[in-house]
Every structure is written in structure tokens, then in C-alpha cells.
Amino acid sequence: MSQMSKIVRTQSNIIFPFITIFGLYVIAHGHLTPGGGFQGGAVVASGCIMLLVAYSSKWVLEKININRLSVFECFGALGFIGTAFFGLIFGGWFFNNFLVRNGILFNVVPEFGSTLSDFNTAGVLPLMNFAVGIKVIAGLFVIVLVMGLASSAKEWKQ
């Protein structure tokens, strides 16, 4: 698998930050608009895979350490299950939403009825959205990277 032409590489360089910012927006506003952890993570992973297709997978492998990506993925999973355990320690029940009325970070409860959306609401949910988003980005990127490496290694052997 060789690199694509210079036009494609330049174009994907320009578009990649916009895709990443849009994906992070979808992850972060998961408790107000449609979206959340998995959807935003899939958008960011699509941006990374676009880079993988434009530059060949051997070139990307030289720039990135796969073992460090696996550790990154573990931290996403540990963030999710750790937040659930904190619900047990601070709130009294497993998965309890302990930040919603008396916490530090996301502790506003909106009034009943049709109001303007406030980002500072809904307790533990944005933190869990970020944890799931990190895990999905790392997971999908490693899957496609390994598949690309395996198929290009066979082509080099033949």
C-alpha cells in the first residue's frame, strides 16, 4: 500500500483538525444534544483513519507507538469503571450520580420546562462520555491500523 498523491495528502492535512474538533464537540455535548461517547469517538476515529488511508499505514506506524495506544485505551476504560466506583464511595450506591446537586464540577439542575441549554448540568454524565470517547478513538484506530498493516505485509511478501 503506497501513499496517495500530493493533492489528497494536502487536503487531508487541512481537513483533519476540523473533523477532530467536531468530534470532540459531539462527545462533550452528549447530555444536551444527540450524540455522546460512541458517536463522537467514531467521528474522531474516522478522521484518524482518513489520515491512515492518505499516508500509508507503514508511514503512520513509524510515527506512532502501538503499545502506548493500548495503554491509552486502558485509561479510558479505567476512567469509566472508576467513576462508577466513586459513585459507590461518595454517593452510597454503585453508579450513583454524586455530582449533580452537591459536587464541584457539573452541579446545576435545570428548571422544569423549556429553557436554554446549560453546559454545567447533569453531574457524572460528561465525565463518562469523555472516558467512553477516549476508549472508542483508541480502539477503532488500533483495529484499522492492525488490519492495514497485516494486508500490506502480505503485499510486501509477494
Binding site: S70, V71, C74, A77, L78, I81, A84, F85, G87, L88, W93, F94, F95, N96, N97
Partner: protein, 533 residues
């Protein structure tokens, strides 16, 4: 006793969450050292076992326990159907959870030295811990969609474990067959759950059990659920994946896979007895749906026993013959449950004979779940030890191993006697209950069961003679005995088998009878959540 009550109150989610946390911490710990990682996994599983014992003692003395995720009371204020995910724990759940933790601890002890020379070990331990988590989740939950999610997790992780030997081409073929069949079965289960949600607007098992009427869509849902869950546990027309997957995967993977298939059987029991309990479990001869389901389940069980025993006679691969015996044992369990349903439907208020026979059949079937997991597991561990020592699995090239591997021979002898139902072992107790009770329902079933047990004994005596006895083969002259941790795991299983065989009353009175009563007690299950509505 404040600490103790706090642990008992919060133990249901901790039983699922502690193996999950360990599964995600294992890749980080394995960068330090290998032995520390093995010890870490074993200690965490020991903590889970302690939590299970505390929870089991509480449930068996105090009754059904409910845990609500993220809140206090089951019904939030102003609502009259439960909306949160709940875990509901009764006697049947405790029985299955105890079986799973015994299988998990022995599997990790065995793989300490069985997997020592392979690469990719940290992924192996992560996948085994995720499989254990999903099995606990399937057994503890009281919510239908939660059950489906844990079922899919167990499909994906067990497929990745079956294909562990990627350099041999047979394992990949078995894993592909397994994932295709499993994912189609799980999609049908999801379709059925969607149909139930559309009718009753609830996903909680107790709410659906309270509100169910036997309409046309409910009959479709019952058929789809039983077919999907029987596909997962390896019943007769759908047993093809079980033979390949059990015989071509590493031995410790097969040992924990037995636990996952038994969790599929537990799901089938929950659907028949709890969700459809008010509709299917009425006595009286004019009540047709329970009788039809009982006849179908019994027929499929007898078909499994036939296929398992008679197809094993002409094979010559060691692990495949044990896999055929596993299919036959699943047939025994389904035969017992079908006999209970037939006995319930055929009994009248002035003739309680059939009902008593049916209840004994149910107890025999549930006791057989425990015995079968241990017996077939011990046989697979011995097969793994033989493969570790000689790197061969075919009967044609093995022989005369009893000179060098003394302890392994003794363990195989114990497993052989237990599988075919000989007296000092635990197989005798559960099979005697099944023979006695199915004789009163229909004598033909009992005769078929006894004949097939004797054929299993014949098959395994042939295997024993050709592998362990006989003249020595020159190429196998210098095999050594397997390492100590594998011997310790096999000795632990054999010890439990002999203990249950000598004192079966302890297990039946304390574990099996509460499980059978909890399955029949549908109104108790519903009223614990809905509060007597």
C-alpha cells in the same frame, strides 16, 4: 456488624465490577512482571469468591434480595413501574454463581503453567476475566436488555479465546463457525426483546412477568427466546459449533467455556419459569402450552443424548470424544427439565404422584448442572495435560502413558467413573434422581437414559485403555509428569467430586432445594420488586 452489612448490601454489583476492574488493570500490571500478574488475578478472584460466599449466606437465610443501580428504593416517586436497572438474586442465582467462581479459580490456577510458553499472555488473561464478568452479569441480572448485552460480551470474548492458536488453521475455522451461529442467535433474541418491549412498555423481568398474557406475539417471543438460548447452550440440532469449539481450543479455555454455556441454560430456565411462569406452570391435564413445551424439550434432550453417545463411538480424537460426551450431558439436563414440565401438566389435584416425580426430576436436573460442569471439566483438564506433555491428541499415536504420568492416570479414572454415573462419585447421585423420576413419567425415557450412560462408560474405557495402558510407544519414552500447578488444579476438582459423591445430602439440602423452590416461586419474585401490587 456495620461493615459486614454494608458489604452484604453492596456485593451484587461488586461481584460483576471487581473482575471487570481487574481485566482492565491486567495489561498495566503485566508490564512489571508475569508472576505478579498471575498472583494479582488470583487474589482478585479470591476476593470475588469471598463476596459470593457472604451474599450466598445472606440470601439463603433471608430471602430474595434486590439491588437498584444508582438510587434508593425500587420504585421512584410518582411511578408505578420500575425504570432503573436492577439485579435480583434468589436461590437459583446463588447456585449458578457458585459454580462459575469455582470454574474460574481452577481455570486461572491451571493456566499458570499451561500457558507459560505462549506469547500474548496478557491478552489471554484480560479475555478470560471479561468472559468471567459477562457470565456473572448474565446470572445476576433482573433486566432483559442487560442480559442481552452480557450475552453478546460473552459471545465476542469466547470467540477470540477459541481462536487463540492462530498458527493452527483448525481453530480459526471453529471460531468463525461459532461467531456466525452465535451472532444470528443473539440477533433473534434482540428481536424478541423488542417485541416484548413494544407490547408491555417495560424491560424488567418482574414487570413483564406480572403483566404477560399469552397473545399471538407472546408465543412468537417464547419460541424465539428458547431457540436462541438453546443455540447458545448446545442442544441437539444446533450442537455443531460445540464439538469444534470445545475440541480445538486450549484446555483452560474449554474449562471456562463450559461455564458460559451453562449460563445460556440458566437464561432458558429464567424465560420458562419466571417470565412465562404464570402462564405455563399451571397444573391440570387440559392445560396445553406447558405440555407442548415439555414434550418438545424432552424430545430434543433425548436426541442430544443419542447423538452424543452414538457418534462418539467411531472417532479417534481424544478431545472430540469428550466434547460428544458434553453434548450428551446437556441432553440429560434438558430431559430432566422437560420431565418436570410434563409432570406438572399431567397431574391432577387428587393424584399428586406426577407432581412429586416432576419435582424430583427438577432437583436432579439442577444437581446435574453442578456435577456435569466438574466431571467434563476434569476430563478436559486431563486432555490438556496429555497435550502439554506429548503435543499429540490423536488416539492412534498415544499409548502406554501410565508409566510416566501416574497422577494424571488416577485423575482420568476418577473423571471416567463420575461421567458414567458409578457409585462413589457425584454423577451417581444426580443420575439416580433423574432415572427414578423419569421412570414414573414414562418408562421408555428412563431406559434410554440408562443405556446411554452404559455406552458412555464403554466409550471412555476404550479411551483409557488405548491412551494410558498398553505397551510403550518409542517416540513417547521420555515424557515427564506435568508441572505442579496443573496437578494441583486437577486434584482440587477431583477432591470436590469425591466429596460431593460421598455426602450428596449436604449439597442437595443447602443449595439445590432452595434453587428448585426459587424457580417455582414466581409470585415471590414479582412481589419483591412490585411490592404486592
Amino acid at each position: 456488624m456495620n461493615w459486614f452489612e454494608l458489604i452484604t448490601l453492596h456485593s451484587p454489583p461488586l461481584i460483576v465490577a471487581v473482575p471487570l476492574l481487574t481485566a482492565f488493570l491486567t495489561p498495566l500490571v503485566s508490564k512489571i512482571n508475569d508472576t505478579i500478574r498471575n498472583l494479582f488475578v488470583l487474589i482478585m478472584l479470591g476476593i470475588t469468591g469471598l463476596l459470593i460466599l457472604i451474599l450466598g449466606y445472606d440470601v439463603l437465610t433471608n430471602g430474595i434480595r434486590v439491588y437498584v443501580f444508582g438510587g434508593g428504593a425500587p420504585l421512584p416517586s410518582g411511578m408505578n413501574i420500575p425504570v432503573r436497572i436492577m439485579f435480583e438474586i434468589d436461590g437459583m442465582t446463588i447456585f449458578m454463581v457458585i459454580i462459575t467462581i469455582i470454574l474460574a479459580i481452577i481455570c486461572i490456577l491451571y493456566s499458570w503453567s499451561f500457558m507459560k510458553k505462549e506469547d500474548g499472555q496478557d491478552k489471554f488473561y484480560t479475555l478470560i476475566l471479561l468472559l468471567v464478568t459477562s457470565t456473572f452479569g448474565m446470572e445476576l441480572t433482573g433486566d432483559l436488555f442487560n442480559f442481552f448485552v452480557f450475552l453478546e460480551i460473552s459471545c465476542i470474548t469466547s470467540c477470540a479465546l477459541i481462536a487463540f492458536y492462530v498458527h493452527k488453521k483448525e481453530s480459526l475455522d471453529a471460531a468463525f463457525k461459532y461467531i456466525v451461529i452465535s451472532s444470528i442467535g443473539a440477533l433473534f433474541i434482540l428481536f424478541a426483546i423488542g417485541l416484548l418491549y413494544a407490547q408491555y412498555n417495560a424491560l424488567n423481568m418482574a414487570t413483564i412477568a406480572n403483566a404477560i398474557q399469552f397473545t399471538f406475539f407472546d408465543k412468537i417471543v417464547l419460541v424465539l427466546l428458547i431457540a436462541g438460548l438453546a443455540m447458545k447452550s448446545g442442544l441437539a440440532p444446533m450442537h455443531m459449533w460445540l464439538l469444534d469449539a470445545y475440541s480445538r481450543s486450549p484446555a483452560s479455555v474449554t474449562f471456562i467455556l463450559i461455564g458460559a454455556t451453562l449460563a445460556g441454560l440458566y437464561g432458558g430456565l429464567r424465560v420458562i419459569f419466571t417470565i412465562y411462569g404464570n402462564q405455563l406452570l399451571n397444573t391440570g391435564f387440559t392445560f396445553y402450552p406447558g405440555l407442548i413445551i415439555g414434550i418438545i424439550v424432552t424430545a430434543l434432550g433425548v436426541l442430544s443424548i443419542f447423538i452424543g453417545v452414538f457418534m462418539a463411538l467411531k472417532r479417534s480424537d481424544f478431545k472430540k470424544m469428550i466434547a460428544y460426551a458434553a453434548v450428551a450431558e446437556i441432553g440429560y439436563m434438558f430431559l430432566a427439565i422437560g420431565s418436570y414440565l410434563i409432570g406438572l401438566a399431567l397431574s391432577a389435584p387428587d393424584n399428586p404422584q406426577m407432581l412429586i416425580a416432576g419435582t424430583y426430576a427438577l432437583k436432579g436436573g439442577l444437581f446435574h448442572i453442578l456435577n456435569d460442569a466438574l466431571d467434563i471439566g476434569l476430563l478436559f483438564l486431563v486432555a490438556g495435560a496429555v497435550y502439554y506433555a506429548t503435543k499429540q491428541t490423536s488416539l492412534n499415536s498415544l499409548g502406554g502413558l501410565a508409566r510416566n504420568m501416574k497422577y494424571t492416570t488416577i485423575f482420568f479414572l476418577i473423571g471416567l467413573l463420575a461421567v458414567s454415573g458409578m457409585p462413589p462419585m457425584n454423577g451417581f447421585a444426580s443420575k439416580l434422581l433423574i432415572y427414578q423420576s423419569t421412570y414414573q413419567i414414562s418408562p421408555i425415557l428412563s431406559i434410554i437414559a440408562i443405556i446411554c450412560s452404559i455406552m458412555l462408560l464403554a466409550v471412555f474405557v476404550k479411551v483409557f485403555q488405548s491412551i494410558f495402558l498398553g505397551p510403550e510407544i518409542p517416540s513417547l519414552k521420555d515424557v515427564k509428569e506435568v508441572p505442579k500447578s496443573m496437578l494441583a488444579a486437577m486434584a482440587l476438582v477431583a477432591g470436590i467430586i469425591i466429596f460431593i459423591g460421598l455426602f450428596p445430602n449436604i449439597i442437595i439440602d443447602n443449595l439445590v432445594t432452595p434453587a428448585a423452590e426459587a424457580l417455582q416461586n414466581t409470585t415471590g419474585y414479582i412481589s419483591t420488586i412490585l411490592g404486592g401490587v
